[in-house]
């Protein structure tokens, strides 16, 4: 199995000499091609910082992050945007669709900023829309869509460029449970049928149960790792809940 993402001993410090906060404290892990990895942790644990560092929106203090054997901590700002649009796909909690564009155009935008030939755009948009079952909303504007539809359009936008890695930040955060389930089904399909490598940050155990492997982060360190293996989702969910209780409850402090 070839490695897509390799994180080596990364640290991220905030603040100055007298007062240092370690947002990320010596974290290392790898993600292989075709994996669906979840990152869980309570608020303030550093999971969003981790995602920001991987997505090149933020920089690490020390350590290395390699995506497809390219060390992104060494990239200059000019090539960062290029790297981001060619190698990464993003799904955000608040969708981040452009309200002035139709669904079709929102998806196509990811291609046009890559300077893809106009003739190739239509086929690719239709193709990804069919796979995510959003063909009927392509002509609609975001304000005419439901939250679940918006998020699937955002997923289509993330997928259409064939990124090495799809980063999802609380993708179900703004959705009701029914839409969440539909979105997660789509993401599972993306992973299984389109072989997309997905790394998803969430604090919701149900959402996390769709992943194959879960990293738990607490106070900037990897606290635990769960692998789904051959478990059903229900069984996996239970195991996750156990860890969450341990993690989030902080019972040791209470007792």
């Amino acid at each position: 199995m070839n490695t897509i993402l390799q994180v080596e001993n990364i640290e991220k410090y905030y603040g100055n000499k007298g007062n240092i906060t370690k947002a990320l404290d010596n974290i290392s892990f790898t993600v292989s091609k075709g994996e669906f990895v979840g990152v869980m942790g309570p608020s303030g644990s550093g999971k969003t910082t981790l995602l920001n560092c991987i997505s090149t929106i933020d920089t690490v203090t020390s350590g290395h992050i390699s995506i497809q054997e390219q060390d992104i901590t060494k990239l200059k700002s000019g090539s960062l945007a290029r790297f981001r649009r060619e190698s990464l796909g993003f799904i955000f909690q608040d969708f981040n669709l452009l309200d002035t564009l139709t669904a079709y155009e929102n998806i196509a935008l990811a291609l046009t900023i890559q300077k893809t030939k106009a003739s190739a755009i239509n086929d690719r948009v239709q193709d990804v829309a069919r796979k995510l079952e959003i063909e009927d909303v392509l002509k609609k504007y975001p304000y005419q869509m439901s939250g679940g539809q918006k998020q699937r359009v955002a997923s289509a936008r993330a997928l259409i460029t064939d990124p090495s890695l799809v980063l999802a930040d609380e993708p179900t955060g703004a959705l009701d449970s029914k839409s969440s389930r539909m979105l997660l089904d789509s993401m599972e399909k993306m992973n299984r049928e389109l072989h997309a490598t997905i790394m998803m940050v969430t604090h919701d155990a149900f959402t996390a149960s769709y992943a194959h492997r879960i990293l738990f982060i607490k106070d900037g360190k990897i606290f635990n790792e769960l692998i789904r293996g051959n478990d059903t989702r229900k069984e996996f969910f239970k195991r996750i809940m156990e860890v969450v209780t341990l993690l989030g409850g902080d019972t040791s402090n209470v007792l």
Partner: protein
């Protein structure tokens, strides 16, 4: 402490303040420059007439300044309002922290004061510099000598400071008032309120766009072909149709552009083109009115600047044509263009005048023909301008002059004499209104029977010379120059011009006084019907008069033109900047999905370029037609030099409008890219 806070605020957000500062400084500069005319007398050697003219210009400028102060006052208030809106959240924070309202007002007042004082000083320095340049311009307009030294006008400085002090005071009151009206919750949530987006039907846009094209096209066609009517009888409807067309144009343009560019997939799906187009289309509802207003203001600005500057050239040109002699006397004529004083020439020659001052004395005569304009035009189906009726054409006689006398006139203009064979005539006119019709007649090469001989005009072009120095331009509708012997001795004389060139050291006005004394003396000895009556014009008098008009119109044009220009630029700039914070979210999305900085900057440039330069573009198209219309009115006074005026106008627009465009662009980028 509050002063310190205010100072730090200004320093911190100087980029936000840039537009405000620029507008204030430009306004102050303009205000000072155009109120400092009085001082120019000190360095320009002017005649007495020019002195009184200059006083008139100064008065007009002061009166205009009051209007300008109102316009600028509103602009500054608008800009101030924009700043307050940008800082709602900050003001909310102060309130939340428990700072009393009056202290927040104090901070705002200090800020206004700081910005006000800095811009006032900058503007004054700029204005003092500008007024030196304007002085040079005045001197060249007057063609007067310049003994240049540095000038500074205390009056203008005080007037400027006073006017702006009042404006600042109003702004302070306004700020306090506005602050008291805001609720805390609105201040805190200021940046969360997002506008409701409504996408309009694009097909309606296409219909509206075509309609606007028809309206504008029709308007242009009418104005182009019937400029006199467009400016006279039909001014209201023409303006109304033009305004409606402009409004519809901007209302539908974005939708039309969108549909149009969507037909080319390669163009539409290229980089951020799609985003820019959608962006403009989405905001057009809040923008099209201001774009139309800006377009009309730019039109006024271009019109004022171009005609103001063109007028000077026009007048100079017409002055040359209408001042062949130092001094001329035109006897009174009746409504049939006939001289009513019997034996005018003999009487004048007998007058007891000291002719030692006279260099040369020439009488030019004009004879009646049996024809009028209706005869030559209507036979050729030249219908003339719409305003000239058949009756008027019929009442306008065609006259004739002797070749020898006309050649004498030409000699005065340093032109070569003309020669005519038998049956040939040379035709000229100085009534510009019908010049096109006369050209048509001349090109037809039709002969006309005059005094029993058929003669054919040999020329198709002519200079619009006057036969005497006179302020009454356009007094010869159509004159045939004929060989001397062709005009019979008994031909009825309809005009006699008494033209005099004086010796160098002689003053034309003194000569005039002498003549009038002699005429008055003569008139007392004869019955009323024998009396000499008429009017005198001197070359010097006409020159000064026209210079005065040129100076007044040029300065009114420049002043108002620049004010309108600044106003339109400020409105656009502020509107774009206040929308920048809404667009910030969208650009953040673009950034996240990997659009590069250059790509985004490029799209900002495109977006602002469309907002700034489309109104300018339409205004230029409008003004090409508009100036043509105005020019055909001005044409009564002679032809001008539009090209030179356009170059200078373009330069001024590029400087001011361009500055605002750049400041907006950098301000916009700053708002979008700030963390």
């Amino acid at each position: 402490m509050y002063f310190k806070l205010a100072l730090r605020n200004v320093k911190k957000s100087y980029k936000d303040y840039m537009i405000y500062f620029l507008t204030l400084a430009f306004s102050v500069c303009l205000f000072y420059t155009f109120n400092s005319f009085q001082e120019q007398e000190a360095v320009i050697s002017m005649t007495e007439a020019q002195f009184s003219l200059m006083a008139g210009v100064t008065d007009i400028m002061v009166a205009l300044s009051v209007i300008v102060a109102f316009i600028l006052g509103f602009l500054i208030l608008y800009a101030n309002n924009f700043l307050i809106r940008r800082r709602k959240k900050e003001l909310g924070l102060y309130t939340l922290l428990g700072m009393p309202r009056r202290n927040i007002s104090a901070i705002l007042i200090y800020e206004t004061l700081i910005i006000g004082i800095i811009s006032l000083l900058t503007g004054l320095v700029l204005g003092i510099f500008m007024s030196q340049m304007i002085t040079v311009l005045t001197a060249s307009l007057f063609e007067a000598e310049l003994n240049y030294h540095f000038i500074f006008s205390m009056d203008a400085t005080i007037f400027t400071i006073l006017s702006f002090a009042i404006i600042f005071f109003i702004i302070m009151v306004f700020n306090t008032f506005i602050l008291n009206r805001y609720k805390l919750i609105d201040l805190i949530n200021a940046d969360k309120q997002s506008e409701n987006l409504k996408i309009k039907n694009v097909y309606i846009s296409i219909i509206l766009f075509l309609l606007s094209m028809v309206l504008l096209g029709g308007d242009y066609w009418f104005a182009w072909h019937y400029p006199l009517d467009a400016f006279g009888l039909f001014l209201m409807p023409v303006t109304l149709v033009g305004c409606t067309g402009t409004l519809l144009f901007f209302m539908s343009l974005s939708g039309f552009l969108l549909k149009f560019i969507q037909t080319s997939k390669t163009l539409y799906y290229r980089k951020l083109n799609m985003f820019v187009l959608r962006q403009i289309n989405a905001n057009i509802n809040s923008n099209f009115v201001s774009m139309s207003v800006v377009c009309v203001m730019l039109l006024l600005s271009i019109g004022a600047l171009a005609t103001g500057m063109n007028l000077n050239k026009t007048l100079n040109n017409s002055v040359r044509m209408s001042t062949p002699y130092d001094w001329s006397y035109s006897p009174t004529r009746n409504e049939h263009y006939e001289i009513i004083i019997p034996n005018f020439e003999e009487k004048v020659k007998a007058l007891p005048i000291d002719r030692s001052q006279v260099e040369e004395e020439i009488f030019l005569h004009q004879y009646a023909t049996q024809h009028n304009l209706a005869d030559v035009f209507e036979e050729l189906h030249i219908n003339g301008s719409l305003l000239v009726s058949h009756e008027l054409l019929e009442a306008t006689p065609i006259s004739a002059v002797k070749l020898s006398e006309y050649n004498k006139l030409l000699e005065n203009f340093h032109e070569d004499p003309i020669q005519l064979a038998d049956n040939e005539a040379y035709v000229f006119s100085n009534l510009n209104l019908i010049s096109e019709d006369i050209t048509k007649f001349l090109e037809s090469k039709k002969s006309l029977e005059l005094f029993g001989h058929a003669v054919t005009p040999i020329n198709t072009e002519y200079d619009e010379y006057m036969m005497a120095t006179t302020g009454f331009v356009g007094n010869e509708p159509m004159v045939f120059v004929l060989n001397d012997e062709q005009i019979p001795d008994d031909a009825k004389m309809v005009g006699t011009y008494w033209n005099v060139d004086l010796k160098k050291e002689t003053d034309a006005d003194t000569f005039s006084d002498n003549v009038y004394r002699a005429i008055d003396g003569y008139n007392e000895t004869v019955p009323p019907e024998e009396q000499i009556m008429g009017s005198t014009d001197t070359r010097q008098g006409i020159r000064e008069n026209s210079k005065g008009m040129a100076v007044i119109f040029t300065y009114i044009g420049i002043y108002l033109g620049i004010v309108f220009l600044i106003a339109s630029a400020v409105i656009l700039a502020l509107q774009q900047l206040s929308q920048a914070s809404d667009n910030r979210k969208r650009y953040l999305v673009l950034d996240k999905i990997g659009a590069s900085r250059t790509m985004m900057d490029h799209s900002i440039l495109q977006q602002l370029g469309i907002y700034f330069f489309l109104p300018l573009f339409l205004a230029i198209v409008h003004s090409v037609v508009g100036i043509k219309v105005v020019n055909s009115i001005v044409v009564y006074m002679g032809k001008g030099d539009l090209f030179g005026a356009s170059i200078i106008t373009g330069g001024i627009i590029l400087l001011i409008y361009g500055t605002y465009f750049l400041v907006t662009y950098f301000g916009y980028k700053n708002i979008l890219h700030q963390k």
